[in-house]
Symmetry: C2
Subunit: 308 residues, 2 copies
């Protein structure tokens, strides 16, 4: 794995902010995104173009997109749920839209109020709208590694849904462990099978640390040859089914581990740690990230003075 370039997708302003109880002012969102795009992150999932009633935190999607600085090397992406969302996203000049469907019927129904089949029907319309534009399309497959209502999904079902995305021409797919149920053995199996069956799809893995397995799952993903990971600055986030539990894996802890292992990410870790401190100031509470508290593995300490 040493020497490989691993790409980091930052999701804190979308996935992380959704769990915050208080609205975060638009200008603070812009400030944070501008700070993050300076660090060399490959992608930032800026916001979601969905109904402001469904997610009030992201009601300022247009204003955020209009306010942020664009820098070469960092793609600015946004989640969309339907044609209306795509129109809104296109008007703001996003680099890429992200579609999402769940591997389990019950989670898809809870998340987007339609069947998995109906989601893919809607995606066809979206893909058609984007044809001939420079805007990319990525697909996310939620609950790939377990559904909080149904449990583990058969691998055949996961692979079939990857195939449904691929049939629409979607070549960038994130397999998501939405509530942190996945384990390293299963991650290796599913990621390896997906890469084997769909060699022309570029996979990302989206992990949560809900049960402490987040970075172990990254290691399993690396071993399966996956080179893109989604994470949240500071580990901000949570789990709607487990109050007090953590959510997404922490970006700076992920980048730290990858650098320690000899992998390149192109991310400036000290700048990322500064951005994490800014985030803590913005949300006004402590974050689950460890490296910001402990320092890196390269930070040495003075020996304590001998006792007298």
């Amino acid at each position: 794995m040493s020497g490989d370039r691993i790409l980091i997708h930052e999701v804190v302003t979308r996935d992380g902010f959704q769990m915050e109880p208080e609205f975060i002012p638009t200008e603070r969102k812009i400030e944070l995104i501008d700070r993050m795009s300076l660090t060399g992150l490959a992608k930032i999932e800026v916001t979601s173009f969905v109904s402001p009633k469904a997610i009030p935190m992201l009601a300022d999607a247009e204003a955020v997109m209009a306010g942020i600085q664009r820098r070469p090397g960092t793609r600015m992406v946004a989640l969309v749920a339907n044609a209306r969302g795509v129109e809104r996203a296109m008007a703001t000049g996003v680099d890429e839209v992200v579609l999402v469907v769940s591997a389990s019927e019950s989670h898809n129904r809870t998340n987007v109020r339609r069947s998995v089949g109906a989601s893919f029907e809607g995606f066809r319309e979206i893909v058609d709208m984007l044809k001939g534009t420079s805007i990319g399309v990525a697909g996310a497959l939620a609950t790939t590694f377990g559904c909080p209502f149904e449990g583990f999904q058969p691998i055949e079902r996961v692979l079939r849904l990857v195939g449904d995305y691929a049939a629409l021409g979607v070549r960038s797919i994130a397999l998501a462990d939405t509530t942190g149920m996945g384990n390293p053995r299963q991650v290796r199996e599913i990621a390896s099978a997906a890469r084997r069956e769909y060699p022309d799809v570029d996979f990302a893995l989206h992990f949560h640390n809900t049960r402490g397995m987040g970075l172990a799952n990254v290691l399993a993903g690396l071993e399966a040859g996956v080179g893109r990971y989604e994470s949240s600055l500071g580990g901000l986030g949570g789990c709607p089914y487990a109050p007090g539990a953590t959510g997404n894996i922490c970006t700076e802890d992920l980048v730290h581990m990858l650098h320690e292992m000899g992998c390149e990410t192109g991310v400036d870790l000290p700048a990322l740690l500064d951005a994490s401190r800014l985030l803590a100031a913005i949300v006004g509470h402590a974050l689950p990230g460890q490296v910001v508290k402990a320092g890196t593995s390269r930070d040495l300490h003075p020996m304590p003075a001998p006792a007298h």
Copy 2:
């Protein structure tokens, strides 16, 4: 890895309690150890026979050893620093004593106030004292994966010190990441090399989650073929050089991950989660463990009722 038996060594009442600011009453220590020994843990590091002035929290070592129930299948072990400690430990009927030396000179000097060479000289006396008894001897090598004062140690030095233990007849050796500096790539390299060079030594790995890499390092250890892991109930502990940082990896999160991966541990996870809740009540504060907050990956949730 599936089907392999992985052994868990619990260190919370020694390594975890040392970081607590308030003395924990002897009867509560006994209550917790009795609860833990019912769960099927292979070893419990009960206490340390060192100077009560050095570690006041463990001044009740004799009383704790005298009060706990002994159960077949769970070895009760204690840390010792010198001949006086061994005499005290022998008098209480421990199953095994644990020696500790650091891979780095500066950490050894800080921890036990002598050189690494002087530590091994002292170990010779201890090993001689235990000859002909039924008491086992294990060795721990602190700062194997990094020293907070000196940084990373050369692998040749680590292997030479393992050899120094082996030359004394110590065949059970824990390689310890004392302040959570190790990364999975390095763990795999060092653990693989140690097993290759010392095939008749039974290795354990002792990890901290100080920078979030704890369970990823366990995965690397499993891949290197190591079958014993040291952890702390609830993840109780800390790092003297990083206030607010976490310490040892969390036993119940470790056991949960291993079970999800298809590894056997012989540990009753629900009983272990109950013990972790007892621990939280004893210390009176929240613990870093995740599974106790989130539930296991097998715990399903009801679908939320549709909105009206």
